[in-house]
């Protein structure tokens, strides 16, 4: 059984000026140790707010933030085993790179630091070894005063800072000023500054949003590696579904402060629970259909075999088929026949749009039908995903 390191229980956040519309609405979420979890959703959906409640910058209006089994609602940020990489880095411009990285450790009480670097016994032992190496007699070497301990701790902090910088590949930049670093480098400083404190949980708020594509892809890979190597739980926020897909163990899809779906990237891609998730996670086709009985569905006027969904017989459902899941076949073998309306080359495949009755379907394929040609499609039963029709949409249709 995996251990939950963070648990959000019925967490909501409302602002006084608009208590009717919570920014975060009754969220329930468990995050496990060493997990890479991504909060994914369009801008303004409450991702940053959720992160800020975990970090302690905002207190939930309702519900509980539980860390390591304890309720943390009223514990200030500095007392939480959490560090954050901020959306716009928030580095300290008056400090150079290495001082930015060290600031967390430099401001801890000595007692705390001694524990952090392995306990009193270990530190005293190290001081003793140092002194013996210098040729001091054993009697003198076994005693250490406050200043010697302080000096030893500072040595440890120096080493830790150097290590953190080399982990983000910034060796040699120690004395640089922050405003002399590029966006990508500042990004790395922000990460080093957070991980040097060995947090149990690292929160990253759209850390790659400001980087260009190439750098972003590199950093995605490096962050993932870092998370594996450090064994820290990462909670990552992004509005980029591709980023979420490539990096995460689990993805939390949010909209309007509500968790829409929670699952592995594969689950979310292949089996979206509603049209919002289906549309947000990559391109897709959603068609209204009728669930005839177990194993059989009808849409676009044709019956298809399906696998593994259970609805009421005769119920209206939304059918989701990814563009790449269609098979383009000869017309006499096709279940659906439509007319091609456009064809765009996408590098590896073609993106073909075709009309089937009054419904447009997007297909990714290697075939090259011309505009105006007939195209025949087939789809395997396991590629057909069904979603319950969202109530309000049914009403809308009735009204129309």
């Amino acid at each position: 059984m995996k251990k939950a390191i963070i648990e959000l229980k019925n967490v909501s956040l409302r602002y006084d000026d608009d208590p009717e519309n919570p920014i975060v609405n009754n969220i329930n979420l468990q995050i496990y140790e060493n997990e890479f979890v991504t909060l994914l959703g369009p801008s303004g959906c409450g991702k940053t707010t959720t992160l800020r409640m975990i970090a302690g910058f905002q207190t939930p209006t309702e519900g509980e933030v539980i860390i390591d089994g304890k309720v943390f609602n009223d514990i200030p940020p500095y007392a939480r085993p959490i560090n954050t990489v901020f959306q716009r880095y928030a580095l300290f411009p008056h400090l150079n790179v290495i001082d930015n990285v060290k600031i967390g450790l430099n401001n801890r009480p000595l007692k705390n630091l001694i524990e952090f670097f392995g306990g009193e016994e270990k530190i005293l032992n190290e001081i003793k070894e140092d002194k013996l190496a210098k040729g001091l007699p054993l009697e003198k070497a076994s005693k250490a005063n406050y200043f010697e301990i302080n000096k030893k701790i500072n040595e440890h902090i120096d080493i830790a800072a150097k290590n953190a910088l080399s982990l983000v590949k910034l060796n040699g930049y120690e004395k640089r000023k922050i405003d002399q670093m590029s966006g990508g480098q500042q990004q790395r400083v922000a990460i080093a500054r957070a991980i040097i404190n060995k947090p149990k949980i690292l929160l990253l708020d759209e850390p790659l949003a400001a980087l260009d594509l190439k750098l972003r892809q590199n950093m995605q890979y490096e962050l993932k590696e870092m998370q594996r190597a450090l064994g820290i739980t990462f909670i990552f926020v992004t509005h980029d579904q591709e980023e979420a897909m490539t990096m995460s163990d689990r993805v939390v899809v949010m909209q309007d402060g509500i968790i829409q779906q929670l699952g592995t990237p594969e689950d979310i891609y292949n089996e979206p629970v509603n049209p919002f998730v289906a549309n947000f996670i990559g391109e897709t086709n959603i068609v209204r259909g009728t669930y005839l009985h177990e194993g059989l569905i009808e849409f676009l006027g044709v019956e298809f075999a399906i696998q593994g969904y259970k609805f009421e017989d005769g119920e209206q459902v939304d059918v989701v088929i990814r563009p790449e899941d269609w098979d383009v076949v000869l017309l006499d073998q096709a279940k659906l026949i439509g007319t091609v309306t456009s064809r765009i080359f996408k590098g590896v495949h073609y993106e073909i749009c075709a009309m089937f009755g009054d419904k447009e379907i997007v297909i990714h394929a290697y075939e090259t039908p011309n505009v105006g040609d007939k195209i025949g499609l087939k789809v395997d039963p396991y590629e057909i995903h069904l979603m319950k029709v969202v109530e309000e949409e049914v009403e809308e249709e009735v009204n129309e």
Partner: protein, 278 residues
């Protein structure tokens, strides 16, 4: 700037040359001239370094010492008080902070002599409204002519110059920087001393110079509130020109000018973008 507008400013630049640069240059020459009392220059002009002897006169030294001391004390008081006000304003949830700043600067738009005179009336036991209301009539409460009165006057007059730049530098600190400090484990106190104070230090430097310089060179406030008991270098310069000893006056004025230029140079080094100024 737009070239067209730059050209519009040309006449002003010429006036600036005529009204500021030319007199300064003139004073610079005057301080090396030997002009006897009575301004009798019928024997022609002679260059001399004689005037510099005045600098070792005890009266001049005391005046310089006083100037630096009073300017220094006023600056320190202004830093302490100005930072508190600026920080309080920065932290307040008040929407119209600009209004508060305007109220703070408002007195600066009245004539400094009028303001100082009314302050004098306030510090004088004779006619002091506050004392009258309290029913105190003792002459012991006559503060006019004391160092306290002068420092009080300087402080009240120039403290707005401290509040503005400090407030401006505080306003530039991003909220997320403060959150980052807390996130990294700094307590509120540590956050203030390790992050907020250093990040607003530019404002303190700018403000200090803007308070220190007028205190150093002014003469109206010590004249009126010090009742002649406290002589600052500004008073000596004023007196020199009044007594037609132009060479000495010029010498002292040029020294003050150099101090001022040096300070402006320092500010421009520390605050390159001028971001703490309005």
């Amino acid at each position: 700037m737009n070239k067209k507008f730059a050209r519009l400013s040309t006449p002003y630049l010429y006036w600036l040359y005529i009204l500021a640069l030319f007199p300064a240059l003139f004073m610079f020459i005057l301080m090396f001239l030997d002009i006897p009392e009575g301004l009798d220059i019928s024997n022609g002009l002679k260059f001399t370094l004689e005037n510099f002897k005045q600098l070792s006169e005890p009266s001049t030294l005391i005046a310089f010492g006083n100037s630096f001391l009073y300017a220094f004390i006023t600056t320190i008081l202004s830093i302490l008080f100005g930072y508190l006000v600026a920080f309080r304003l920065f932290r307040s949830k008040f929407k119209n902070k600009f209004l508060v700043l305007v109220i703070l600067i408002l007195p600066m738009w009245t004539n400094i002599l009028l303001r100082t005179e009314s302050l004098a009336g306030f510090l004088n036991s004779n006619g002091n409204v506050v004392l009258s209301l309290l029913g105190i009539k003792s002459a012991e409460f006559d503060l006019l002519g004391t160092p306290f009165a002068v420092i009080f006057g300087l402080f009240v007059t120039y403290v707005p110059f401290m509040v503005m730049p400090i407030f401006n530098s505080l306003e530039k600190i991003d909220k997320s920087i403060e959150e980052a400090a807390l996130d990294l484990g700094l307590t509120e106190t540590q956050k203030f001393f390790k992050v907020i104070l250093p990040m607003s230090s530019k404002g303190i430097v700018t403000g200090s110079i803007m308070v220190f310089l007028p205190c150093l060179s002014g003469f109206a406030i010590p004249e009126i509130l010090g009742r002649g008991n406290i002589v600052l270098i500004g008073n000596v310069i004023e007196a020199s020109f009044k007594n037609m000893s132009y060479t000495i006056g010029s010498l002292l004025a040029v020294i003050i000018l150099v101090v001022i230029l040096l300070s402006i140079f320092i500010v421009s080094k520390i605050d390159k973008e001028g971001e703490t100024l309005l």
